[in-house]
């Protein structure tokens, strides 16, 4: 841990125009109808089914791709949490742009950083730094998330491989110069039958590959989701990425990184929905007062704020754990990818009830709300759906119960201290099974002694829940550790994930400064999470009042609603 990297807070709002603050400044005032990157332009591009061209130009100009390229290869990627926070600025404005321009490059690149040789890594780095695109070609709709049954084949044939088959729902398929291809290279049914190929699309014989028509979607309508069909297409031997048969293992490591980052960036979409709902509630007059005056509305807004903070805490801790606790992240990142999209979706729905008919309109001052409502669900499906994430965790539950939960040491403070530096992210150290290791959940017992009695009481209940889960999970039936796992096993898994989110919030508050260090948001956040476990208590009224005040102040001062409270443009 000698190469600790300075925290973003240390150089917050740096002048180089590339951090979150710089991006925000370039994005400009969202409400300015003349802003080519404002809400009106974003909604109009969505109506046309186009990715926002002015947005792509701006991101080219500030070299967003460098965020995805390791510093050692000439980029700016050092820290997963910082990456999430930076790209979140784009997602606050336009999920389509953030996904279609940005994150999809990172998803494609992660297996290359994880398993590529020096030449492959340098090649892809150059390509991305030159504002070109990479595509991740994994999905075959027939098999969904069941990668082991993927059919596209790459068979050895001098001087390399011959590829046959098709990949679908590939973002930017047709405009990517580099494609990371998940291909079957062996006959067996198991996990050693697939390999990654890093394909230079510009060098393929055009007659042997065909681009599929775009897949229209309900949300992110501007994303260029396409596909590629290969027919006896020769690919050079040096395209093999990592070892032959090693793709599943690479995926299990590399996707931990992307599964932690993707939910973290999409928090930006809820930020904009919440801001739009606040704007609506402050202006809309009903029954002689504004909507914002109605206790139920205030409660819904404060609830969404808490949900957003929970999502940020869990995804940020998940991202930092990649650096600090790589032995545990197979579980933790799956937890992030499961719970954060779910909470975001539900919070979005709750806000839509508040916004009412305006949430249903694709025009007018609140149209961006409707667009985000359509875009958000994609994050659930994209890149491992909920069931896949839970299925990553469920077989590990008995061992976690037997080894991790009873006596784990709490994780280092640096996991939660957003201002603390991090050691470099080493893909090779990311374990594909936690082997029972889980320090994060130990934070529940730590907080059971919290100086704030409300935190202590809540944490004690949560620790008791962990003890209850331990009894249930230790004896999890053998069948529940397979693909035939029962709903009861999935429910246990969900409850465990909720406890991890609580533990993340507890840690962030204990190691925070300013607002993050105050108990109010934590008491509220734990109440929201306990509600997910069936507890019926509302967020206490005084807490809700203080959060409402914080929310209003951030709205008025143009600050983000996440853990960072950064200044926004406009």
């Amino acid at each position: 841990m000698t190469h600790a990297i300075a925290a973003p807070a240390d150089r917050a709002d740096r002048a180089d125009q590339t951090g979150p603050a710089g991006l925000e400044a370039r994005l400009g005032d969202p409400l300015d109808p003349a802003n080519p990157l404002g809400h009106a332009a974003v909604v109009a591009a969505d109506e046309r089914g186009e990715i926002l061209a002015a947005g792509e130009e701006m991101l080219d100009a500030c070299g967003l791709n460098a965020e995805f390229v390791p510093r050692s290869l000439g980029g700016r990627f050092e820290r997963a949490d910082r990456l999430a926070e930076t790209v979140r600025a784009v997602f606050r404005r336009d999920v389509t742009l953030g996904l279609g321009y940005g994150i999809t490059n990172f998803v494609a690149a992660a297996p290359v950083w994880a398993s590529g040789d020096a030449g492959q890594r340098a090649w892809l780095a150059r390509l991305l730094l030159g504002n070109r695109r990479a595509a991740a070609a994994y999905t075959e709709l027939r098999h969904g998330n069941d990668f082991t049954r993927n059919e596209l084949t790459a068979l050895p044939a001098a001087p390399g491989f011959v590829v046959d088959g098709r990949k679908e729902l590939v973002n930017n398929a047709e405009r990517a110069d580099a494609v990371v291809l998940f291909a079957r290279t062996g006959d067996g049914p198991g996990s050693r039958s697939h390999s990654h190929l890093l394909v230079d699309m510009t060098a393929l014989p055009a007659g042997r590959r065909r681009y599929l028509p775009r897949f229209p979607t309900a949300g992110v309508r501007g994303c260029l989701l396409g596909g590629i069909e290969f027919a006896g297409c020769p690919v050079p031997g040096d395209a093999l990425l990592g070892e032959r048969g090693g793709a599943m293992e690479t995926v299990l490591k590399a996707f931990q990184v992307t599964r932690a980052v993707l939910p973290g960036v999409v928090v930006g979409a809820l930020d904009t929905q919440l801001r739009t709902a606040l704007s609506f509630a402050g202006r809309r007059v009903l029954y002689g007062g504004t909507v914002a005056d109605l206790p139920n509305a205030r409660s819904a807004l404060a609830g969404a704020f808490l949900d957003l903070l929970v999502c940020d805490a869990l995804s940020t801790v998940g991202a930092r754990a990649l650096h600090l606790c790589p032995a545990e992240t197979s579980v933790l990142t799956a937890a992030v990818k499961y719970l954060v999209p779910k909470i975001l979706r539900e919070a979005s729905y709750d806000l839509s009830v508040l916004v009412g008919a305006r949430s249903y309109l694709r025009e007018g001052p609140y149209a961006i709300f409707e667009k985000m409502m359509r875009d958000l669900p994609l994050v659930t499906f994209a890149h491992a759906n909920a069931a896949v994430c839970q299925a990553t965790i469920i077989p590990q539950l008995p061992r976690l119960a037997a080894r991790g939960w009873p006596r784990a040491e709490p994780p280092p403070d640096a996991l939660f201290d957003l201002g603390a530096g991090l050691p470099p992210l080493d893909f090779g150290r990311l374990a594909i099974n936690a082997r029972g290791a889980d320090g994060l959940s130990a934070m529940l017992a730590v907080a059971a002694d919290d100086a704030d009695p409300r935190v202590a009481a809540s944490a004690a209940r949560l620790a008791a829940e962990l003890a209850r889960l331990r009894r249930r999970c230790r004896d999890l039936p053998a069948r529940d550790r397979t693909v035939l796992a029962s709903r009861a096993a999935f429910d246990l898994c969900e409850r465990y994930i909720v406890l991890l989110a609580a533990a993340a919030c507890i840690g962030v508050r204990r190691n925070g400064t300013g607002f993050r260090a105050e108990p109010d948001w934590l008491v509220g956040a734990l109440a929201r999470l306990e509600a997910r476990l069936g507890r019926r208590e509302r967020v206490p009224a005084d807490i809700e009042a203080r959060l409402t005040a914080e929310l209003s102040a951030r709205f008025d001062d143009h600050l983000t609603f996440d853990l960072y409270a950064r200044r926004l443009a406009g």
């Binding site: 999905t139 027939r142 309900a218 007059v285 005056d293 309109l361 694709r362 669900p377 709903r487």
Partner: protein, 587 residues
């Protein structure tokens, strides 16, 4: 030909046969054609003409005014049938029921017959209540009707009005007393043909999240003339008539959700049977199967509640102020969740908007979101329940219930009593008999009631007692209703849904249980056990396999529903505890 045990389903079966298999793209009223119209944001005019030819509009008009409605169950089933195929059609055509309802509840017989003749002749009638700046706050409305020349001059704009542009007649709520107030508004029948093109202006169609072909627009008047005879009901009676009419429409709007839920569940079941994951059919994976069976359970609960409440329009009109709010809150909200849950199983196919079968699911999801928004949104309806807390708590404590009327609402074998609009009230004085009678009924369950069901029913009673005790402690406030009251109202609604299921089972088990096609659902009160397990799980969420959540046995009752669900899917039957054949077999 078999006679369905539930008479309104004979109507459904006849019309379903007429429109044919929705999966057959060559049919006029097919899923594929509706999806194409949605992509083009085009109004389904040709389909609406076919509905007119089939005589569907007669099911918007009570028989005593010349229509076909002897029970509003027929209206419910007709709208549900359209919604199973396309919500845009159901909303675009069914809107005329909303346009006419004020006449059925608030007009004199001559005027009601005039509106009836309009509807039966194929006229499109729209209902213009909301304004751009005021939404559900009807008393803040600014459209005015000022006495002039023996009639009225109308000025102002109504916005987000379904069929505002396409309609022939607009049933308009206008301020007739400048001071406003509950008696300050009146309803006017604005006949656009008589006004002529210069007498009004239509506002542009609004681009929406779903139902993209629907004519959701607005209408403006600049001193338009209305005759004295265009006044619907008494001057100043507009708000009262609207609120009574809304009790009918909020109950029947459930049909939109039931239709959408049937479609979503049918699409997802088909996918789960055909898609393989980990070398097995999706439907054979317990987690995915459970999503299907709990969605099925949610649909059964929504249907039973809707049927009982629709019959309560006839049997318990004085309590419809409660039941209609319960239905309008619960059914759209639970179906939104049902669709979202199924979407998780659909995976990427819940998101695709392709022009094949995979593109259909996202359309149902988008379309259905409007149901919770219009005609009094979720919060308005929960507020209506909260306003009843004092009377509900009192009546429950006293065990007061109109048993005869509850039986008439729940027993679907008999036609319900004739609808009497004069018995509608703005605030129920007798609470909600359906739930208030539950403890007495559960204390005397018939011999042979399965123990698990009896136990669940008793737990429901205990939960209801607890909820009412907390409702009794609620202090009414005019405006600043605490958020906790909304939570309590949600719990109350769950109790009512459970009570509807218990009563529906009690009154229909012998007859419906004898129908071959649904015998498995009634055997051992299977569907009821599943529904009560689900309701109790929502009332008392807890860890799986313990006291809450899943009935304590891992939710095995849901697994027993799977064969019934698959049989209804494959055999081409409505997802329902009562048999109804559809031209949609998928063997």
């Amino acid at each position: 030909m078999s006679h369905p045990p539930y008479a309104p389903y004979a109507l459904t079966e006849r019309l379903e046969r007429r429109f044919g298999d929705p999966g057959d793209a060559a049919r006029a009223f097919s899923l594929a054609r509706c999806a194409e119209l949605d992509r083009r944001a085009e109004f389904p005019a040709a389909i609406c003409r076919e509905l007119d030819e089939a005589g569907v509009a007669a099911y918007y008009v009570p028989a005593r005014f010349g229509g076909a409605v002897r029970t509003f169950e027929d209206t419910l089933q007709v709208v549900r049938l359209m919604a199973r195929r396309d919500l845009t059609v159901a909303i675009g055509h069914g809107k005329t029921f909303l346009g006419g309802v004020s006449a059925w509840v608030g007009a004199g017989p001559d005027q009601a017959r005039r509106v009836a003749a309009e509807v039966l002749g194929g006229g499109v009638v729209s209902w213009a209540l909301t304004e751009r700046a005021h939404g559900s706050d009807l008393l803040a409305g600014e459209v005015t009707a000022v006495p002039a020349d023996g009639g009225y001059r109308v000025t102002g704009e109504k916005w987000l009005i379904n069929n505002a542009t396409r309609s022939d007649v607009v049933c308009l709520l206008a301020r007739t007393d400048p001071a406003g107030g509950p008696r300050g508004f009146s309803l006017l029948l604005m006949d656009k043909r008589r006004l002529g093109p210069d007498g009004y202006r239509c506002l542009p169609k609004v681009r929406t999240h779903g139902v993209r072909g629907a004519d959701i627009s607005g209408i403006g008047f600049d001193g338009a003339a209305a005759g004295a005879g265009d006044l619907l009901g008494a001057p100043g009676g507009g708000v009262e008539t609207v609120l009574k009419g809304l009790q009918l429409t909020r109950t029947l709007v459930a049909a939109l959700s039931l239709g959408a839920a049937d479609r979503a569940l049918r699409l997802c079941t088909g996918f789960a049977l055909g898609h393989a994951l980990y070398g097995r059919r999706l439907v054979d994976l317990p987690h995915a199967a459970r999503t299907l069976t709990t969605a099925y359970t949610d649909l059964l609960i929504a249907e039973v509640l809707s049927l009982v409440a629709t019959r309560a329009i006839h049997a318990l009109p004085g309590e419809l102020s409660v039941l209609s709010a319960v239905v309008k809150y619960h059914v759209p909200t639970s179906v939104d969740a049902l669709i979202a849950n199924l979407g998780q199983t659909m995976g990427a196919r819940a998101f695709l908007a392709t022009d094949d079968v995979h593109g259909l699911f996202q359309k149902v999801e988008r379309d259905h979101r409007i149901v919770g928004i219009f005609d009094g949104n979720t919060l308005v309806n929960l507020n209506a329940v909260i306003n009843h807390f004092p009377v509900l708590a009192r009546m429950f404590a006293e065990g007061r219930a109109d048993e005869t009327a509850v039986a008439a609402a729940a027993d679907v074998a008999q036609p319900p009593p004739e609808f009497d609009p004069d018995r509608l009230g703005l605030l129920s004085r007798t609470g909600c008999s359906l739930l208030q009678g539950l403890p007495a009924v559960v204390a005397a369950l018939p011999a042979g009631t399965p123990p698990a069901v009896a136990d669940a029913a008793r737990r429901l009673c205990a939960a209801a007692a607890d909820v009412h005790a907390r409702m009794a402690a609620h202090r009414p406030t005019a405006r600043a209703v605490p958020a906790a009251a909304f939570d309590l109202a949600r719990e109350y609604v769950l109790c009512v849904t459970g009570a509807a299921c218990v009563r529906f089972w009690l009154h229909n088990r012998e007859r419906a249980g004898g129908a071959e096609r649904t015998a498995g659902l009634w055997d051992g009160a299977l569907w009821l056990e599943a529904c009560l397990t689900r309701v109790l799980g929502a009332l008392r969420p807890g860890p799986p396999g313990e006291d809450g959540g899943d009935g304590g046995d891992g939710g095995a009752v849901y697994d027993r529903l799977l064969p019934e669900l698959l049989a209804q899917y494959r055999g081409g039957f409505l997802f329902s505890p009562l048999p109804c054949r559809l031209p949609e077999e998928r063997p």
